[in-house]
Symmetry: C2
Subunit: 331 residues, 2 copies
């Protein structure tokens, strides 16, 4: 049995909203991250697989309205929600993902079913929903994903005619300028209008296997049909027992173009870098070359954990067997 | 000016159908590949960009009914066509892709528009079509993609209750057994029932820049909504002036799990392998570990070209400035 079993999670990265920062808002986020880590820890302590631990952690993050995935997902330009998720098993390199689903309560569970019950890796749209329905997963009306906080963000984005982009430099600057004139959005330590909202988890289990999972509602006011890095194996999610498990959050398009999650594994294999050095290079050197902003959580087969980000903050944490969860928001 | 400008293309890989091989069928494929290469060559000779050359080559491959992309695309389980395409510019790492479109005549042109006129990389389904419509691209009825040959393949797959899989070992064996009892499919040197149908192109232009493009109808009798490696940057398509341009064809799910296209670039960067050695390792060593079958075409910034495949055949060819196109089907 591997005594280094560990789980790490993230809930998005971005710019710290100092204006409206409040102790109670911070405490809410720490409590939510702690609860999710504790649940993942229990799965691992009971001898459960890394795959089970990351599925459960991401399911809970989807159900929590504080994070942009599942209930609490952002709004598209059409005022709807379109959800993406992916999961990968480092033991076998099996993977499953879905994108652009509108009525599956927990997208990560649909991705898990694709991994386990399909010869395919990725399903999109109506076909993804048909697959999830045939698998007996819980369906909800699209309005189930509504929350007041995300609705206000969407209204703000529309008023500013922001093309949904939190993610390039120009849009960030425009959003920042607009933000200074706008009502501060209360109760979120990381500015929801300049946040890359994704949730994810990586784990090493007691049997020595790795897994990664990622889920998102995308970016506020996104064009219908836009797919980011989250459901793309290699970009938003990757796991291989031989190297590491990685889940990313950030400006999705740049993570796709840099094949960010897989690049951590590639640098470990081909450059013999440590997990920390490989992840640092991707987040601090490679992604910034194309203005890629965000971060990732990663774990290797020895139980090393790293949680680098190049933004002001990232909701994150990790928990080892028998230890208290450690959660953080700022640097 | 770079005098090593070159274009390479593929039209799918698979098992050679010796039973029905005919000299005239072979000649048809060589002629089609030659015509596409000549068109790409003209773009490069005129000083056009690698991006223009691969766009034009893949557009022509989509329009040619011999290949599984655009007109001539395979049928889904619902008797429809769902098309995917991706393109990447090695000069900037900009990328564009669309998946699961049903009415865009040339999916590669939609991917090109995403690259050039959107901050996003990937659009799916109705959202992808809305984007293409807003860009003024040509739309057709889904039946435009119909061909008698692909319809017969679909009927055969349905009769055999094949779950659409050409791509795993068991399904290949089952298909092979069924094939022996079935009517030989005439006029295609590579067995269309055991072929990984994709088209793609890579190029180095006279300015020293690289680009890659890939397009497909997917696999016969595929479940609605299934997306393979073709539209996924890093899996089916990758280009970076610093390393290489790659377009793949094969059992898409395995190419996704191995991040096949990007892995060629990663091995060149991180292991300092040559283009040929890196591509060989991906196709001959890494993909077979998970029963990945198929091949790729790749070019580097020095004008080296490699076209490895681990199946019996791959429709392929390349053309250098001022030289006659070279086309091949078998080993």
């Amino acid at each position: 049995m591997n005594s280094n079993a560990v789980i790490a999670i993230h809930g998005g990265a971005g710019t710290i909203l100092r204006a409206s920062m409040s102790a109670s808002a911070e405490a809410d986020y720490h409590a939510a991250l702690n609860a999710v880590l504790s649940a993942g820890q229990r799965v691992l302590a009971d001898g459960g697989s890394a795959l089970d631990a990351v599925s459960e952690a991401v399911r809970l993050l989807e159900d929590c309205p504080l994070f942009n995935a599942g209930h609490g997902a952002v709004y598209t330009a059409a005022g709807t929600h379109e959800l993406d998720a992916a999961i990968m098993d480092g033991r076998t390199l099996d993977a499953g993902a879905i994108c652009c689903v509108k009525r599956v309560r927990n997208p990560i569970l649909a991705a898990r079913r694709v991994l386990e019950h399909s010869d395919h890796v990725l399903f999109t749209g109506d076909g993804a929903e048909a697959f999830a329905a045939a698998q007996g997963l819980e369906f909800v009306d699209n309005s189930y994903f509504d929350t007041d906080a995300r609705y206000r963000q969407w209204q703000l984005a529309r008023e500013q005619q922001r093309p949904m982009l939190d993610h390039d430099g120009a849009s960030l600057a425009a959003a920042a300028a607009a933000q200074r004139n706008a009502e501060p959005t209360p109760h979120e330590p990381i500015d929801p209008n300049r946040k890359f909202g994704t949730v994810g988890a990586v784990a090493l289990d007691r049997h020595g296997h790795l897994a990664a999972a990622t889920s998102t509602g995308g970016v506020t006011n996104k064009q219908v049909g836009r797919v980011g890095d989250t459901p793309l194996i290699g970009a938003g999610c990757y796991a291989d027992d031989a190297t590491c498990a990685v889940s990313t959050t950030g400006s999705g398009e740049m993570f796709i173009r840099m094949v960010a999650a897989y690049d951590v594994a590639a640098q470990m294999t081909y450059r013999q870098l440590s997990l920390e050095d490989a992840a640092h290079d991707v987040v601090m050197n490679r992604l910034p070359k194309i203005d890629g902003r965000g971060g990732l959580v990663a774990v290797d087969a020895q139980g090393n954990v790293t949680l680098p980000f190049n933004t002001e903050g990232m909701y994150r944490g990790f928990a080892r067997l028998g230890g208290a969860p450690v959660t953080s928001i700022y640097r």
